[in-house]
Protein backbone atom coordinates (compact mmCIF):
# COMPACT_ATOMS: atom_id res chain seq x y z
CA UNK A 1 0.00 0.00 0.00
CA UNK A 2 1.35 3.40 -1.01
CA UNK A 3 2.06 5.82 1.81
CA UNK A 4 0.24 9.15 1.92
CA UNK A 5 2.01 12.23 3.20
CA UNK A 6 0.18 14.08 5.98
CA UNK A 7 0.04 17.20 3.81
CA UNK A 8 -1.72 15.32 1.03
CA UNK A 9 -4.14 13.68 3.46
CA UNK A 10 -5.12 17.04 4.95
CA UNK A 11 -5.40 18.78 1.58
CA UNK A 12 -6.89 16.07 -0.60
CA UNK A 13 -8.06 13.18 1.56
CA UNK A 14 -11.65 12.06 0.97
CA UNK A 15 -13.60 10.41 3.77
CA UNK A 16 -14.04 6.69 3.25
CA UNK A 17 -10.61 6.24 1.66
CA UNK A 18 -8.32 3.62 3.14
CA UNK A 19 -4.85 5.02 3.64
CA UNK A 20 -1.38 4.32 5.04
CA UNK A 21 0.46 7.15 6.83
CA UNK A 22 3.79 7.24 8.60
CA UNK A 23 5.16 9.83 10.98
CA UNK A 24 6.24 10.79 14.46
CA UNK A 25 3.91 11.23 17.39
CA UNK A 26 3.47 14.83 18.49
CA UNK A 27 0.83 14.34 21.19
CA UNK A 28 -1.39 11.60 22.57
CA UNK A 29 -4.60 11.97 24.61
CA UNK A 30 -6.22 8.88 26.02
CA UNK A 31 -9.53 8.18 27.62
CA UNK A 32 -10.65 4.75 28.73
CA UNK A 33 -11.93 3.59 25.37
CA UNK A 34 -10.29 5.75 22.79
CA UNK A 35 -6.90 7.32 22.07
CA UNK A 36 -6.18 10.41 19.99
CA UNK A 37 -2.68 10.27 18.53
CA UNK A 38 -1.41 13.19 16.48
CA UNK A 39 1.33 12.34 14.02
CA UNK A 40 3.47 14.64 11.92
CA UNK A 41 5.78 13.68 9.04
CA UNK A 42 7.38 17.05 8.32
CA UNK A 43 5.48 17.57 5.06
CA UNK A 44 3.39 20.29 6.77
CA UNK A 45 3.29 21.99 10.14
CA UNK A 46 -0.08 20.36 10.81
CA UNK A 47 -0.45 16.96 12.41
CA UNK A 48 -2.93 14.28 11.46
CA UNK A 49 -5.19 12.89 14.15
CA UNK A 50 -5.28 9.11 14.50
CA UNK A 51 -8.17 7.66 16.46
CA UNK A 52 -7.28 4.31 18.04
CA UNK A 53 -9.74 2.28 20.08
CA UNK A 54 -8.18 0.83 23.20
CA UNK A 55 -10.04 -2.44 22.74
CA UNK A 56 -8.72 -2.93 19.22
CA UNK A 57 -5.01 -2.39 19.92
CA UNK A 58 -4.60 -3.26 23.60
CA UNK A 59 -3.24 -1.13 26.41
CA UNK A 60 0.24 -2.60 26.09
CA UNK A 61 0.83 -1.31 22.56
CA UNK A 62 -0.89 2.02 23.17
CA UNK A 63 1.20 2.65 26.28
CA UNK A 64 4.43 2.48 24.30
CA UNK A 65 3.18 5.16 21.89
CA UNK A 66 4.65 8.35 23.35
CA UNK A 67 5.84 11.67 21.94
CA UNK A 68 8.53 11.05 19.31
CA UNK A 69 7.48 7.46 18.56
CA UNK A 70 7.66 6.58 14.89
CA UNK A 71 4.49 4.96 13.56
CA UNK A 72 2.96 3.42 10.48
CA UNK A 73 -0.85 3.57 10.59
CA UNK A 74 -3.41 2.07 8.25
CA UNK A 75 -7.00 3.17 8.55
CA UNK A 76 -10.07 4.78 7.06
CA UNK A 77 -10.35 8.53 6.61
CA UNK A 78 -13.38 9.82 8.50
CA UNK A 79 -14.83 13.25 9.12
CA UNK A 80 -13.00 14.99 11.95
CA UNK A 81 -14.70 16.59 14.94
CA UNK A 82 -11.47 18.47 15.58
CA UNK A 83 -11.60 22.14 14.71
CA UNK A 84 -9.63 23.22 11.67
CA UNK A 85 -9.24 19.76 10.18
CA UNK A 86 -11.63 18.00 7.87
CA UNK A 87 -10.39 14.44 8.28
CA UNK A 88 -8.91 12.04 10.80
CA UNK A 89 -7.87 8.42 10.57
CA UNK A 90 -9.88 5.64 12.14
CA UNK A 91 -6.96 3.27 12.80
CA UNK A 92 -7.18 -0.36 11.71
CA UNK A 93 -3.51 -1.29 12.03
CA UNK A 94 -0.72 0.38 13.97
CA UNK A 95 2.92 -0.58 13.60
CA UNK A 96 5.56 0.92 15.87
CA UNK A 97 8.63 1.61 13.76
CA UNK A 98 10.71 3.21 16.51
CA UNK A 99 10.10 3.94 20.17
CA UNK A 100 11.04 7.12 22.04
CA UNK A 101 11.70 6.63 25.74
CA UNK A 102 9.60 9.35 27.45
CA UNK A 103 12.15 9.54 30.28
CA UNK A 104 14.95 10.40 27.87
CA UNK A 105 13.42 12.00 24.76
CA UNK A 106 13.85 15.72 25.39
CA UNK A 107 11.35 17.14 22.87
CA UNK A 108 8.00 17.07 24.66
CA UNK A 109 4.69 18.70 23.71
CA UNK A 110 5.38 22.01 25.44
CA UNK A 111 7.17 25.19 24.52
CA UNK A 112 10.94 24.80 24.64
CA UNK A 113 13.28 27.78 24.73
CA UNK A 114 15.45 28.39 21.68
CA UNK A 115 18.48 28.00 23.95
CA UNK A 116 17.31 24.54 25.04
CA UNK A 117 16.73 23.58 21.42
CA UNK A 118 20.20 24.77 20.46
CA UNK A 119 21.56 22.24 22.96
CA UNK A 120 19.41 19.60 21.26
CA UNK A 121 20.17 20.71 17.73
CA UNK A 122 19.87 17.16 16.37
CA UNK A 123 16.23 17.02 17.47
CA UNK A 124 15.07 20.59 17.00
CA UNK A 125 13.98 19.91 13.41
CA UNK A 126 11.07 18.10 15.08
CA UNK A 127 9.62 21.20 16.69
CA UNK A 128 7.03 23.39 14.96
CA UNK A 129 9.33 26.42 15.08
CA UNK A 130 12.35 24.80 13.45
CA UNK A 131 10.24 22.75 11.06
CA UNK A 132 8.65 26.00 9.87
CA UNK A 133 12.02 27.75 9.59
CA UNK A 134 13.54 24.93 7.56
CA UNK A 135 10.55 24.60 5.24
CA UNK A 136 10.64 28.37 4.63
CA UNK A 137 14.40 28.31 4.12
CA UNK A 138 13.92 25.53 1.56
CA UNK A 139 11.26 27.58 -0.26
CA UNK A 140 13.52 30.64 -0.31
CA UNK A 141 16.48 28.66 -1.63
CA UNK A 142 14.32 27.30 -4.43
CA UNK A 143 12.92 30.74 -5.19
CA UNK A 144 16.48 32.11 -5.46
CA UNK A 145 17.35 29.54 -8.11
CA UNK A 146 14.00 29.97 -9.86
CA UNK A 147 14.37 33.74 -10.05
CA UNK A 148 17.85 33.69 -11.52
CA UNK A 149 16.98 30.86 -13.86
CA UNK A 150 14.02 32.80 -15.24
CA UNK A 151 16.28 35.85 -15.76
CA UNK A 152 18.87 33.84 -17.73
CA UNK A 153 21.56 33.95 -15.04
CA UNK A 154 23.95 31.01 -14.74
CA UNK A 155 24.70 29.38 -11.40
CA UNK A 156 28.43 29.13 -10.68
CA UNK A 157 30.00 26.99 -7.98
CA UNK A 158 32.98 29.10 -7.01
CA UNK A 159 35.87 27.55 -5.04
CA UNK A 160 35.53 27.12 -1.27
CA UNK A 161 39.22 26.41 -0.65
CA UNK A 162 41.17 29.32 -2.09
CA UNK A 163 44.49 31.12 -1.93
CA UNK A 164 42.80 34.49 -2.59
CA UNK A 165 41.28 36.67 0.10
CA UNK A 166 38.82 38.41 -2.30
CA UNK A 167 38.63 42.03 -1.17
CA UNK A 168 39.95 41.31 2.29
CA UNK A 169 36.38 40.92 3.46
CA UNK A 170 37.26 39.37 6.81
CA UNK A 171 39.46 37.07 8.83
CA UNK A 172 40.00 33.66 7.32
CA UNK A 173 40.13 30.03 8.38
CA UNK A 174 43.30 28.26 7.32
CA UNK A 175 42.87 24.95 5.46
CA UNK A 176 45.80 22.60 5.80
CA UNK A 177 46.98 19.01 5.96
CA UNK A 178 50.33 19.82 7.59
CA UNK A 179 51.20 18.19 10.89
CA UNK A 180 50.00 20.76 13.46
CA UNK A 181 52.63 19.79 16.03
CA UNK A 182 55.63 19.38 13.74
CA UNK A 183 54.98 21.31 10.53
CA UNK A 184 57.68 21.12 7.86
CA UNK A 185 59.95 24.16 8.00
CA UNK A 186 62.06 25.96 5.43
CA UNK A 187 65.69 26.84 6.08
CA UNK A 188 64.66 30.30 7.32
CA UNK A 189 62.48 28.74 10.01
CA UNK A 190 59.14 29.56 8.37
CA UNK A 191 56.46 27.03 7.47
CA UNK A 192 57.22 25.18 4.23
CA UNK A 193 53.87 25.49 2.46
CA UNK A 194 55.31 23.71 -0.57
CA UNK A 195 54.59 20.58 1.46
CA UNK A 196 50.94 21.49 2.12
CA UNK A 197 48.16 19.93 0.00
CA UNK A 198 48.04 22.64 -2.65
CA UNK A 199 51.70 23.68 -2.37
CA UNK A 200 50.77 27.07 -0.92
CA UNK A 201 48.85 28.56 2.03
CA UNK A 202 45.10 28.16 1.52
CA UNK A 203 41.99 29.25 3.39
CA UNK A 204 38.21 29.10 3.28
CA UNK A 205 36.66 31.62 0.92
CA UNK A 206 35.14 34.84 2.24
CA UNK A 207 33.46 35.52 -1.13
CA UNK A 208 33.08 33.98 -4.58
CA UNK A 209 33.08 37.44 -6.11
CA UNK A 210 36.39 37.30 -7.99
CA UNK A 211 35.47 34.07 -9.75
CA UNK A 212 31.95 35.38 -10.24
CA UNK A 213 33.26 38.43 -12.08
CA UNK A 214 35.30 36.23 -14.40
CA UNK A 215 32.23 34.15 -15.11
CA UNK A 216 30.10 37.22 -15.80
CA UNK A 217 32.71 38.51 -18.27
CA UNK A 218 32.04 35.48 -20.46
CA UNK A 219 28.59 34.13 -19.60
CA UNK A 220 26.97 37.55 -19.14
CA UNK A 221 24.98 37.14 -15.94
CA UNK A 222 25.92 34.70 -13.22
CA UNK A 223 25.18 34.15 -9.54
CA UNK A 224 26.78 32.21 -6.76
CA UNK A 225 24.90 30.67 -3.86
CA UNK A 226 27.16 28.77 -1.55
CA UNK A 227 28.85 28.77 1.84
CA UNK A 228 31.29 31.50 2.85
CA UNK A 229 33.31 31.87 6.03
CA UNK A 230 34.57 34.46 8.50
CA UNK A 231 36.96 33.56 11.31
CA UNK A 232 35.79 36.47 13.43
CA UNK A 233 34.91 35.68 16.99
CA UNK A 234 32.24 38.33 17.10
CA UNK A 235 29.48 36.12 18.47
CA UNK A 236 26.71 38.39 17.26
CA UNK A 237 23.47 37.56 15.53
CA UNK A 238 24.81 39.33 12.44
CA UNK A 239 27.91 37.31 11.84
CA UNK A 240 28.16 33.55 11.70
CA UNK A 241 31.47 31.80 11.11
CA UNK A 242 29.77 29.90 8.27
CA UNK A 243 26.86 31.18 6.19
CA UNK A 244 25.38 30.85 2.71
CA UNK A 245 25.64 33.92 0.52
CA UNK A 246 24.17 34.95 -2.83
CA UNK A 247 26.39 36.97 -5.15
CA UNK A 248 25.06 38.01 -8.56
CA UNK A 249 27.58 39.44 -11.05
CA UNK A 250 26.40 40.99 -14.30
CA UNK A 251 28.26 42.26 -17.35
CA UNK A 252 26.95 45.45 -18.98
CA UNK A 253 24.83 46.50 -15.95
CA UNK A 254 24.93 50.06 -14.65
CA UNK A 255 24.07 51.18 -11.13
CA UNK A 256 20.37 51.55 -11.95
CA UNK A 257 20.25 48.05 -13.42
CA UNK A 258 21.83 46.76 -10.20
CA UNK A 259 19.26 48.53 -8.03
CA UNK A 260 16.39 47.29 -10.22
CA UNK A 261 17.69 43.76 -9.84
CA UNK A 262 18.07 43.99 -6.06
CA UNK A 263 14.55 45.36 -5.57
CA UNK A 264 12.92 42.90 -7.95
CA UNK A 265 14.83 40.00 -6.36
CA UNK A 266 13.80 40.79 -2.78
CA UNK A 267 10.16 41.23 -3.80
CA UNK A 268 10.18 38.01 -5.82
CA UNK A 269 11.40 36.05 -2.80
CA UNK A 270 8.83 37.60 -0.46
CA UNK A 271 5.99 36.98 -2.91
CA UNK A 272 7.18 33.38 -3.28
CA UNK A 273 7.11 32.56 0.44
CA UNK A 274 3.81 34.37 0.95
CA UNK A 275 2.37 32.14 -1.78
CA UNK A 276 4.05 28.89 -0.81
CA UNK A 277 4.56 28.94 2.97
CA UNK A 278 1.23 30.26 4.31
CA UNK A 279 0.87 27.75 7.17
CA UNK A 280 4.45 28.03 8.38
CA UNK A 281 4.40 31.85 8.19
CA UNK A 282 1.11 31.93 10.09
CA UNK A 283 2.62 29.80 12.85
CA UNK A 284 5.69 32.04 13.11
CA UNK A 285 3.52 35.18 13.00
CA UNK A 286 1.51 33.92 16.00
CA UNK A 287 4.68 32.97 17.84
CA UNK A 288 6.15 36.43 17.23
CA UNK A 289 2.89 38.12 18.28
CA UNK A 290 2.98 36.20 21.58
CA UNK A 291 6.48 37.45 22.29
CA UNK A 292 5.63 40.99 21.29
CA UNK A 293 2.77 41.07 23.78
CA UNK A 294 5.36 41.11 26.58
CA UNK A 295 6.84 44.34 25.24
CA UNK A 296 5.57 47.90 25.80
CA UNK A 297 3.16 48.89 23.05
CA UNK A 298 5.45 51.38 21.33
CA UNK A 299 8.22 48.78 21.01
CA UNK A 300 6.11 46.09 19.38
CA UNK A 301 6.89 45.23 15.77
CA UNK A 302 4.40 44.77 12.95
CA UNK A 303 2.74 41.43 12.43
CA UNK A 304 5.10 39.17 10.44
CA UNK A 305 2.83 38.79 7.41
CA UNK A 306 1.99 42.50 7.48
CA UNK A 307 5.70 43.28 7.47
CA UNK A 308 6.31 41.08 4.45
CA UNK A 309 3.35 42.57 2.58
CA UNK A 310 4.66 46.06 3.42
CA UNK A 311 8.06 45.40 1.82
CA UNK A 312 6.42 43.68 -1.14
CA UNK A 313 4.08 46.58 -1.85
CA UNK A 314 6.38 49.53 -1.20
CA UNK A 315 8.58 51.14 -3.81
CA UNK A 316 12.17 51.18 -2.62
CA UNK A 317 13.47 54.73 -2.23
CA UNK A 318 16.85 55.33 -3.83
CA UNK A 319 19.30 57.82 -2.40
CA UNK A 320 22.86 58.81 -3.22
CA UNK A 321 25.85 57.88 -1.12
CA UNK A 322 26.08 61.46 0.14
CA UNK A 323 22.42 61.44 1.18
CA UNK A 324 22.95 58.15 2.99
CA UNK A 325 25.95 59.57 4.87
CA UNK A 326 23.84 62.57 5.91
CA UNK A 327 21.24 60.26 7.44
Amino acid sequence: MKRWKVKDVLNNGKTGTKILVKGWVRTKRSSKNVNFININDGSTIFSLQIVAETEKFGEQLLKSITTGTSLAVEGILTESQRSGQKVEVDAEKIEILGIADPEKFPIQPKKHTLEFLRENAHLRFRTNTFGAVFRIRNALAFAIHKYFNEKGFYYLHTPIITASDAEGAGQMFRVTVLDPLHPPLKEDGNIDYDKDFFGKPTNLTVSGQLEGELGALALGEIYTFGPTFRAENSNTTRHLAEFWMIEPEMAFYDLNDNMDLAEEFVKYLIAYVLDNCKDDLQFLAERLAQEERNKPKNERSMDLNEKLEFVLNSKFIRITYTQAIDI
Copy 2:
Protein backbone atom coordinates in the same frame (compact mmCIF):
# COMPACT_ATOMS: atom_id res chain seq x y z
CA MET B 1 17.75 51.84 -25.21
CA LYS B 2 17.22 48.39 -23.69
CA ARG B 3 19.89 45.82 -24.44
CA TRP B 4 18.96 42.63 -26.24
CA LYS B 5 20.70 39.39 -25.35
CA VAL B 6 22.22 37.55 -28.31
CA LYS B 7 20.04 34.54 -27.57
CA ASP B 8 16.88 36.63 -27.83
CA VAL B 9 18.05 38.32 -31.03
CA LEU B 10 18.73 34.98 -32.69
CA ASN B 11 15.50 33.39 -31.48
CA ASN B 12 13.06 36.26 -31.72
CA GLY B 13 14.64 39.14 -33.63
CA LYS B 14 12.56 40.51 -36.53
CA THR B 15 14.26 42.18 -39.49
CA GLY B 16 13.85 45.93 -39.48
CA THR B 17 14.02 46.22 -35.68
CA LYS B 18 16.55 48.62 -34.22
CA ILE B 19 18.46 46.98 -31.39
CA LEU B 20 21.31 47.40 -28.94
CA VAL B 21 23.55 44.39 -28.22
CA LYS B 22 26.64 44.02 -26.05
CA GLY B 23 29.20 41.27 -26.00
CA TRP B 24 32.73 40.09 -26.65
CA VAL B 25 34.26 39.68 -30.09
CA ARG B 26 34.79 36.08 -31.12
CA THR B 27 36.03 36.64 -34.68
CA LYS B 28 36.44 39.45 -37.20
CA ARG B 29 36.80 39.19 -40.98
CA SER B 30 37.51 42.32 -42.99
CA SER B 31 37.45 43.13 -46.65
CA LYS B 32 38.15 46.58 -48.04
CA ASN B 33 34.66 47.99 -47.58
CA VAL B 34 32.97 45.81 -45.00
CA ASN B 35 33.78 44.07 -41.70
CA PHE B 36 32.07 41.03 -40.23
CA ILE B 37 32.35 41.01 -36.44
CA ASN B 38 30.91 38.11 -34.47
CA ILE B 39 30.02 38.87 -30.88
CA ASN B 40 28.95 36.53 -28.11
CA ASP B 41 27.50 37.45 -24.72
CA GLY B 42 27.36 34.03 -23.10
CA SER B 43 23.58 33.76 -23.33
CA THR B 44 23.98 31.12 -26.06
CA ILE B 45 26.82 29.29 -27.75
CA PHE B 46 26.01 31.11 -31.00
CA SER B 47 27.50 34.46 -31.93
CA LEU B 48 25.69 37.32 -33.61
CA GLN B 49 27.13 38.76 -36.79
CA ILE B 50 27.67 42.50 -36.87
CA VAL B 51 28.18 44.05 -40.30
CA ALA B 52 30.21 47.26 -40.11
CA GLU B 53 31.05 49.35 -43.15
CA THR B 54 34.63 50.57 -43.14
CA GLU B 55 33.58 53.95 -44.46
CA LYS B 56 31.09 54.52 -41.67
CA PHE B 57 33.36 53.73 -38.71
CA GLY B 58 36.88 54.42 -39.97
CA GLU B 59 39.85 52.09 -40.15
CA GLN B 60 41.23 53.35 -36.85
CA LEU B 61 38.29 52.17 -34.75
CA LEU B 62 37.82 48.92 -36.67
CA LYS B 63 41.50 48.03 -36.25
CA SER B 64 41.21 48.09 -32.47
CA ILE B 65 38.32 45.59 -32.57
CA THR B 66 40.06 42.26 -32.05
CA THR B 67 39.13 38.94 -30.46
CA GLY B 68 38.08 39.51 -26.86
CA THR B 69 37.15 43.18 -27.31
CA SER B 70 34.03 44.19 -25.42
CA LEU B 71 31.51 46.06 -27.60
CA ALA B 72 28.17 47.83 -27.51
CA VAL B 73 26.54 47.91 -30.94
CA GLU B 74 23.40 49.64 -32.10
CA GLY B 75 21.98 48.77 -35.47
CA ILE B 76 19.15 47.42 -37.59
CA LEU B 77 18.39 43.73 -37.79
CA THR B 78 18.61 42.55 -41.39
CA GLU B 79 18.29 39.20 -43.10
CA SER B 80 21.53 37.25 -42.84
CA GLN B 81 23.31 35.64 -45.79
CA ARG B 82 25.22 33.53 -43.28
CA SER B 83 24.13 29.91 -43.15
CA GLY B 84 22.27 28.83 -40.04
CA GLN B 85 21.34 32.33 -38.86
CA LYS B 86 18.32 34.32 -39.87
CA VAL B 87 19.47 37.78 -38.81
CA GLU B 88 22.53 39.96 -38.56
CA VAL B 89 23.05 43.52 -37.37
CA ASP B 90 23.71 46.36 -39.79
CA ALA B 91 25.76 48.50 -37.39
CA GLU B 92 24.94 52.19 -36.93
CA LYS B 93 26.95 52.86 -33.80
CA ILE B 94 29.82 50.93 -32.23
CA GLU B 95 31.21 51.67 -28.79
CA ILE B 96 34.32 49.92 -27.54
CA LEU B 97 33.79 49.12 -23.86
CA GLY B 98 37.07 47.30 -23.34
CA ILE B 99 40.00 46.46 -25.59
CA ALA B 100 41.87 43.14 -25.72
CA ASP B 101 45.49 43.44 -26.83
CA PRO B 102 45.89 40.79 -29.57
CA GLU B 103 49.56 40.34 -28.62
CA LYS B 104 48.64 39.40 -25.05
CA PHE B 105 45.07 38.04 -25.04
CA PRO B 106 45.57 34.27 -25.07
CA ILE B 107 42.12 33.12 -26.21
CA GLN B 108 42.19 33.35 -30.00
CA PRO B 109 39.75 31.96 -32.57
CA LYS B 110 41.37 28.55 -32.86
CA LYS B 111 41.17 25.28 -30.99
CA HIS B 112 43.02 25.43 -27.68
CA THR B 113 43.97 22.30 -25.76
CA LEU B 114 42.20 21.68 -22.46
CA GLU B 115 45.62 21.77 -20.79
CA PHE B 116 46.27 25.26 -22.19
CA LEU B 117 42.84 26.40 -21.00
CA ARG B 118 43.50 25.03 -17.53
CA GLU B 119 46.49 27.38 -17.36
CA ASN B 120 44.16 30.22 -18.37
CA ALA B 121 41.29 29.20 -16.13
CA HIS B 122 40.16 32.80 -15.65
CA LEU B 123 39.49 33.14 -19.38
CA ARG B 124 38.36 29.67 -20.34
CA PHE B 125 34.70 30.55 -19.66
CA ARG B 126 34.99 32.48 -22.93
CA THR B 127 35.55 29.42 -25.08
CA ASN B 128 32.71 27.48 -26.65
CA THR B 129 33.65 24.31 -24.81
CA PHE B 130 33.69 25.78 -21.31
CA GLY B 131 30.73 28.06 -22.02
CA ALA B 132 28.74 24.96 -23.02
CA VAL B 133 29.90 23.02 -19.96
CA PHE B 134 28.97 25.82 -17.56
CA ARG B 135 25.56 26.41 -19.16
CA ILE B 136 24.83 22.67 -18.96
CA ARG B 137 26.08 22.52 -15.37
CA ASN B 138 23.77 25.42 -14.53
CA ALA B 139 20.81 23.63 -16.15
CA LEU B 140 21.60 20.43 -14.24
CA ALA B 141 21.89 22.27 -10.91
CA PHE B 142 18.51 23.88 -11.50
CA ALA B 143 16.98 20.56 -12.54
CA ILE B 144 18.27 18.97 -9.31
CA HIS B 145 16.46 21.58 -7.22
CA LYS B 146 13.36 21.44 -9.43
CA TYR B 147 13.13 17.66 -9.17
CA PHE B 148 13.39 17.55 -5.39
CA ASN B 149 11.08 20.54 -5.00
CA GLU B 150 8.39 18.83 -7.08
CA LYS B 151 8.77 15.66 -4.95
CA GLY B 152 8.32 17.58 -1.68
CA PHE B 153 11.92 17.19 -0.51
CA TYR B 154 13.45 19.96 1.61
CA TYR B 155 16.86 21.40 0.81
CA LEU B 156 19.21 21.37 3.81
CA HIS B 157 22.45 23.30 4.07
CA THR B 158 24.53 20.98 6.21
CA PRO B 159 27.68 22.28 7.95
CA ILE B 160 30.90 22.58 5.96
CA ILE B 161 33.17 23.02 8.98
CA THR B 162 32.61 20.06 11.26
CA ALA B 163 34.13 18.05 14.07
CA SER B 164 32.59 14.82 12.73
CA ASP B 165 34.14 12.63 10.06
CA ALA B 166 30.80 11.17 8.89
CA GLU B 167 31.47 7.52 8.05
CA GLY B 168 35.19 7.99 7.68
CA ALA B 169 34.63 8.59 3.99
CA GLY B 170 38.11 9.95 3.33
CA GLN B 171 41.05 12.01 4.49
CA MET B 172 40.15 15.43 5.77
CA PHE B 173 41.39 19.01 5.55
CA ARG B 174 42.00 20.62 8.93
CA VAL B 175 40.35 24.02 9.51
CA THR B 176 42.11 26.15 12.06
CA VAL B 177 43.02 29.66 13.18
CA LEU B 178 45.92 28.56 15.39
CA ASP B 179 49.37 30.02 14.71
CA PRO B 180 50.94 27.44 12.38
CA LEU B 181 54.48 28.14 13.60
CA HIS B 182 53.82 28.41 17.34
CA PRO B 183 50.55 26.65 18.12
CA PRO B 184 49.41 26.78 21.75
CA LEU B 185 50.38 23.59 23.59
CA LYS B 186 48.92 21.77 26.54
CA GLU B 187 51.07 20.63 29.45
CA ASP B 188 51.49 17.19 27.86
CA GLY B 189 53.01 18.79 24.76
CA ASN B 190 50.00 18.25 22.49
CA ILE B 191 48.14 20.99 20.63
CA ASP B 192 45.71 22.91 22.84
CA TYR B 193 42.61 22.89 20.65
CA ASP B 194 40.67 24.69 23.36
CA LYS B 195 42.35 27.77 21.93
CA ASP B 196 41.23 27.08 18.35
CA PHE B 197 38.18 28.89 16.89
CA PHE B 198 35.59 26.30 17.88
CA GLY B 199 37.43 25.02 20.97
CA LYS B 200 38.10 21.65 19.36
CA PRO B 201 39.78 20.18 16.26
CA THR B 202 37.65 20.82 13.17
CA ASN B 203 37.86 19.87 9.51
CA LEU B 204 36.05 20.25 6.20
CA THR B 205 33.09 17.93 5.80
CA VAL B 206 33.38 14.77 3.72
CA SER B 207 29.58 14.34 3.71
CA GLY B 208 26.44 16.02 4.99
CA GLN B 209 24.85 12.62 5.55
CA LEU B 210 24.68 12.63 9.35
CA GLU B 211 22.90 15.98 9.46
CA GLY B 212 20.79 14.90 6.50
CA GLU B 213 19.56 11.85 8.39
CA LEU B 214 18.56 14.00 11.35
CA GLY B 215 16.66 16.31 9.00
CA ALA B 216 14.89 13.41 7.31
CA LEU B 217 13.80 12.06 10.70
CA ALA B 218 11.73 15.21 11.21
CA LEU B 219 11.01 16.72 7.81
CA GLY B 220 10.48 13.41 6.02
CA GLU B 221 12.46 13.82 2.83
CA ILE B 222 15.47 16.08 2.51
CA TYR B 223 18.42 16.54 0.20
CA THR B 224 21.74 18.26 0.44
CA PHE B 225 23.56 19.81 -2.50
CA GLY B 226 26.77 21.48 -1.45
CA PRO B 227 30.54 21.23 -1.48
CA THR B 228 32.38 18.33 0.13
CA PHE B 229 36.09 17.70 0.49
CA ARG B 230 38.71 14.95 0.37
CA ALA B 231 42.34 15.57 1.25
CA GLU B 232 43.50 12.68 -0.87
CA ASN B 233 46.34 13.39 -3.22
CA SER B 234 45.06 10.94 -5.78
CA ASN B 235 45.21 13.29 -8.76
CA THR B 236 42.74 11.27 -10.78
CA THR B 237 39.76 12.40 -12.82
CA ARG B 238 37.53 10.62 -10.32
CA HIS B 239 38.52 12.43 -7.18
CA LEU B 240 38.72 16.16 -6.74
CA ALA B 241 39.80 17.71 -3.45
CA GLU B 242 36.61 19.81 -3.60
CA PHE B 243 33.38 18.80 -5.30
CA TRP B 244 29.62 19.36 -5.03
CA MET B 245 27.61 16.35 -3.93
CA ILE B 246 23.89 15.54 -3.77
CA GLU B 247 22.69 13.48 -0.82
CA PRO B 248 18.99 12.65 -0.50
CA GLU B 249 17.83 11.16 2.82
CA MET B 250 14.32 9.83 3.18
CA ALA B 251 12.36 8.58 6.17
CA PHE B 252 10.12 5.54 5.63
CA TYR B 253 11.76 4.50 2.32
CA ASP B 254 12.74 0.90 1.67
CA LEU B 255 15.42 -0.33 -0.74
CA ASN B 256 12.99 -0.41 -3.67
CA ASP B 257 11.85 3.15 -2.98
CA ASN B 258 15.51 4.20 -2.98
CA MET B 259 16.18 2.52 -6.31
CA ASP B 260 13.01 4.02 -7.82
CA LEU B 261 14.15 7.46 -6.72
CA ALA B 262 17.68 7.05 -8.10
CA GLU B 263 16.44 5.89 -11.50
CA GLU B 264 13.74 8.54 -11.77
CA PHE B 265 16.19 11.25 -10.69
CA VAL B 266 18.87 10.37 -13.26
CA LYS B 267 16.28 10.20 -16.04
CA TYR B 268 14.70 13.50 -14.99
CA LEU B 269 18.07 15.26 -15.21
CA ILE B 270 18.89 13.79 -18.61
CA ALA B 271 15.48 14.70 -19.99
CA TYR B 272 15.91 18.22 -18.63
CA VAL B 273 19.24 18.90 -20.35
CA LEU B 274 18.09 17.28 -23.58
CA ASP B 275 15.15 19.70 -23.54
CA ASN B 276 16.98 22.80 -22.36
CA CYS B 277 20.58 22.56 -23.65
CA LYS B 278 20.17 21.39 -27.26
CA ASP B 279 22.71 23.82 -28.78
CA ASP B 280 25.39 23.25 -26.16
CA LEU B 281 24.95 19.46 -26.26
CA GLN B 282 25.15 19.51 -30.06
CA PHE B 283 28.42 21.43 -29.90
CA LEU B 284 29.89 18.99 -27.38
CA ALA B 285 28.60 16.02 -29.39
CA GLU B 286 30.44 17.28 -32.48
CA ARG B 287 33.57 17.96 -30.46
CA LEU B 288 33.49 14.45 -29.03
CA ALA B 289 32.83 12.91 -32.47
CA GLN B 290 35.91 14.70 -33.83
CA GLU B 291 38.06 13.20 -31.09
CA GLU B 292 36.55 9.77 -31.53
CA ARG B 293 37.46 9.77 -35.22
CA ASN B 294 41.12 9.43 -34.23
CA LYS B 295 40.41 6.18 -32.42
CA PRO B 296 40.12 2.68 -33.94
CA LYS B 297 36.49 1.97 -34.88
CA ASN B 298 35.84 -0.60 -32.14
CA GLU B 299 36.97 1.83 -29.43
CA ARG B 300 34.74 4.71 -30.44
CA SER B 301 31.93 5.64 -28.07
CA MET B 302 28.33 6.38 -28.97
CA ASP B 303 27.33 9.86 -30.06
CA LEU B 304 26.77 12.03 -26.97
CA ASN B 305 23.07 12.67 -27.59
CA GLU B 306 22.51 9.04 -28.51
CA LYS B 307 24.15 7.99 -25.25
CA LEU B 308 21.87 10.28 -23.23
CA GLU B 309 18.77 9.04 -25.08
CA PHE B 310 19.89 5.47 -24.44
CA VAL B 311 20.06 5.97 -20.66
CA LEU B 312 16.80 7.89 -20.69
CA ASN B 313 14.90 5.19 -22.57
CA SER B 314 16.34 2.08 -20.93
CA LYS B 315 14.93 0.42 -17.86
CA PHE B 316 17.61 0.11 -15.20
CA ILE B 317 18.32 -3.51 -14.38
CA ARG B 318 18.37 -4.29 -10.67
CA ILE B 319 20.60 -6.97 -9.24
CA THR B 320 21.42 -8.16 -5.76
CA TYR B 321 24.70 -7.50 -4.03
CA THR B 322 25.70 -11.12 -4.54
CA GLN B 323 24.95 -10.92 -8.26
CA ALA B 324 27.02 -7.74 -8.48
CA ILE B 325 29.97 -9.44 -6.75
CA ASP B 326 29.73 -12.34 -9.20
CA ILE B 327 30.07 -9.93 -12.13
